[in-house]
């Protein structure tokens, strides 16, 4: 039955339903409420998981890795600097082919110190072999936990998965959610059945030393598992829709969702909660007969190349709007989308807008500015955009910049 829940409550409920064996936890804002809520569940006997209070995020991820190696279902949550500390064991977990599920309450990275949200933390983990889901609302943040377990623990995949939700914007909002129970999720999410586990009666080594003649092949296999995960995600969203009556991008293998995109001249591409605000602006333009739409990748790794090419190919201009910047080049999502489209023969001009860093509110006026700037590129070619002018900051307070003060 639907009820009002915060994002952190909904994620904790999802974890409870998925019933992990081991939950190592270390607090960090704005994730803390998730593991705090879970600790209450354990203390109240609602959840029988081993709840391990560790001394750092490095230890949290390492404990999850060790437990996963022993065959356990694990959960932990973090963000920002905490994810940096987890980075080393997480890269190991993918190489060791160990499934772990993490909730990430996306938050900026220091410096300057900020507790507010953007996607810098998870984008910095892009190359680590972790599957990355991004939720638009609280319901999806909850549902993605179950999907992350199912895909990560699939024996053909066996990789860590990050289930990302925008820090504060989604963790601390209260809205309508249809929670699922342990009984209901059982049909969708089977017990974990690991192929290889650490077992004293059958000793083996995991994650050992590999010489150059072997290492490349382990990396190749992680890459193949990532690509294979696309099919598994497609199966998972389909079965999820059958059981729970909620769909996530069924027409695009569960990898992306669209909003009024089918006949759009101008498409906005973005991850996560900002797409919700964009819908109001798209509706305003549509009322005036202007064909604007939204494409929202739900999964960033594996990258939905084919699906993006299919949905974007008829647009006249594209804005990639993201809460991340690969310093010294452009936003990570824009780089990937250009690579996907332009290597498939597309000639659509693409602008890259950097927004919402460290919790700067993305206002409707910002989105209107983005649409207006992108509209001007209709009928033009990628090379019509001057080098160094593809990426724009919306907004940039130039009065705060060093040059301006002089």
């Amino acid at each position: 039955m639907a009820k009002m829940m915060t994002g952190y409550d909904a994620v904790a409920e999802a974890v409870k339903a998925c019933d992990p064996d081991v939950i190592p936890a270390y607090p960090i804002t704005p994730q803390t409420d998730i593991v705090e809520r879970i600790s209450e569940m354990v203390a109240d006997g609602e959840l029988t998981s081993e709840y391990v209070r560790v001394d750092s995020e490095f230890n949290a991820a390492s404990t999850a890795l060790g437990a996963s190696a022993a065959g356990a279902r694990t959960f932990t949550a973090t963000c920002s600097q905490g994810l940096k500390l987890m980075s080393e064991p997480l890269f190991s977990a993918s190489g060791m082919r160990l499934p772990l599920v993490l909730a990430i309450a996306n938050r900026s990275l220091s410096a300057p110190l900020s507790i507010w949200g953007d996607h810098t933390d998870t984008f910095a983990e892009r190359d680590g072999g972790m599957i990355q889901f991004y939720a638009e609302d609280v319901q999806e943040a909850m549902d993605n936990i179950a999907m992350a377990y199912r895909v990560a623990e699939d024996e053909e995949i066996s990789l860590p998965a990050l289930s990302c939700l925008d820090g504060f914007i989604l963790t601390h909002v209260q809205e309508k959610v249809e929670p699922f129970s342990r009984k209901e999720i059982r049909e969708f999410l089977p017990e974990r059945s690991p192929v290889h586990t650490l077992d004293p009666s059958d000793p083996k080594t995991m994650g050992a030393y590999a010489r150059p003649e072997h290492w490349t092949e382990t990396r190749y296999e992680v890459h193949q598992a990532q690509l294979k995960a696309k099919d598994k995600i497609a199966e998972a969203v389909e079965e999820f829709a059958n059981i729970f009556d909620r769909e996530y991008g069924l027409g695009y293998n569960g990898l992306l969702e669209t909003y009024r995109a089918e006949d759009a001249d101008v498409l906005l591409v973005a991850l996560g909660s900002v797409c919700g605000t964009m819908k109001y602006i798209v509706d305003e333009y549509r009322q005036r007969g202007e064909k604007i739409g939204i494409v929202r990748p739900r999964v960033y790794r594996p990258f939905p190349t084919e699906e993006l090419c299919e949905v974007l190919e008829d647009a006249e201009a594209i804005a990639v709007v993201e809460k991340d910047i690969s310093l010294g080049y452009q936003g990570g999502l824009a780089i990937d989308i250009k690579s996907a489209l332009y290597s498939n023969g597309s000639r659509i001009p693409i602008l890259n807008f950097i927004v919402g860093l460290a919790g700067r509110d993305v206002k409707k006026d910002n989105i209107k500015n983005i649409v207006e700037q992108t509209k001007e590129l209709r009928g033009k070619l990628p090379e019509d955009i001057e080098f160094g002018k593809e990426e724009r900051w919306e907004p940039l307070r130039t009065e705060l910049l060093e040059d301006d003060k002089k």
Binding site: F168, Q174, K176, Y259, S273, T277, Y280
Partner: protein, 193 residues
């Protein structure tokens, strides 16, 4: 199915109501937003409650937001053009532009023992005062005025049913404390025109 169809049909029709709550850290602005959102949901609407995300230090000015609509609310930006403003602590009026962006057709509800005419505030919107602190002191023995203020809001705006507010208050606090808070809410509901 998670009705993608209704999302497609969403057209701005000015139904959505936006509320901004001004309080000080420790006064329970976030709890109030949360209870109001829940009561709005209980009253049959879609609702969204969220804090202005920050480091909430005791006594510092803070804000929290609520939205109500007849359809799913996906707006993730903060509230800049509220239909209603609630001020938990009238000393904030000198420090913060509490009426900023407030709709001319809207209303500002201030917790104060003064008459609305005595409040110096730059707005075309209706100004309503209620002595929620006094009501809270009498019912709870403590100056925690959120439940009384929510009763004033329910009456003045009609956006929340009194019964829904009472149900949420009982669920939130439980037992004797819950009942006392319901009484405070109901008194404010009665005294507000």
């Amino acid at each position: 199915m998670k009705t993608k169809e209704t999302k497609e049909n969403k057209i701005p029709d000015n139904y959505m109501k936006q509320i901004r709550i001004h309080g000080r850290g420790g006064q329970g602005s976030v709890t109030m937003a949360s209870m109001m959102a829940e009561a709005g949901f209980e009253s049959g609407n879609y609702a969204q409650g969220f804090p202005s995300f920050g480091v909430e230090r005791l006594g510092a000015p803070i804000e929290a937001f609520v939205r109500f609509d007849d359809k799913e609310i996906t707006d993730r930006s903060q509230v800049y053009s509220p239909d209603y403003v609630i001020v938990q602590d009238s000393t904030l009026i000198e420090l913060v532009d509490v009426a900023k962006g407030l709709s001319e057709d809207g209303m500002i509800i201030i917790n104060s023992s003064k008459d609305a005419k005595e409040i110096d505030i730059d707005t075309e919107a209706k100004v309503l005062t209620v002595d929620a602190t006094d009501i809270a002191r009498r019912h709870l023995g403590r100056p925690i005025m959120n439940t009384a203020l929510s009763g004033a809001f329910a009456k003045a705006t009609g956006l929340i049913e009194k019964e829904s507010m009472a149900k949420v208050i009982r669920n939130t606090f439980g037992g004797d404390v819950g009942e006392k808070n319901v009484k405070a809410m109901e008194e404010a509901y009665r005294v507000v025109e």
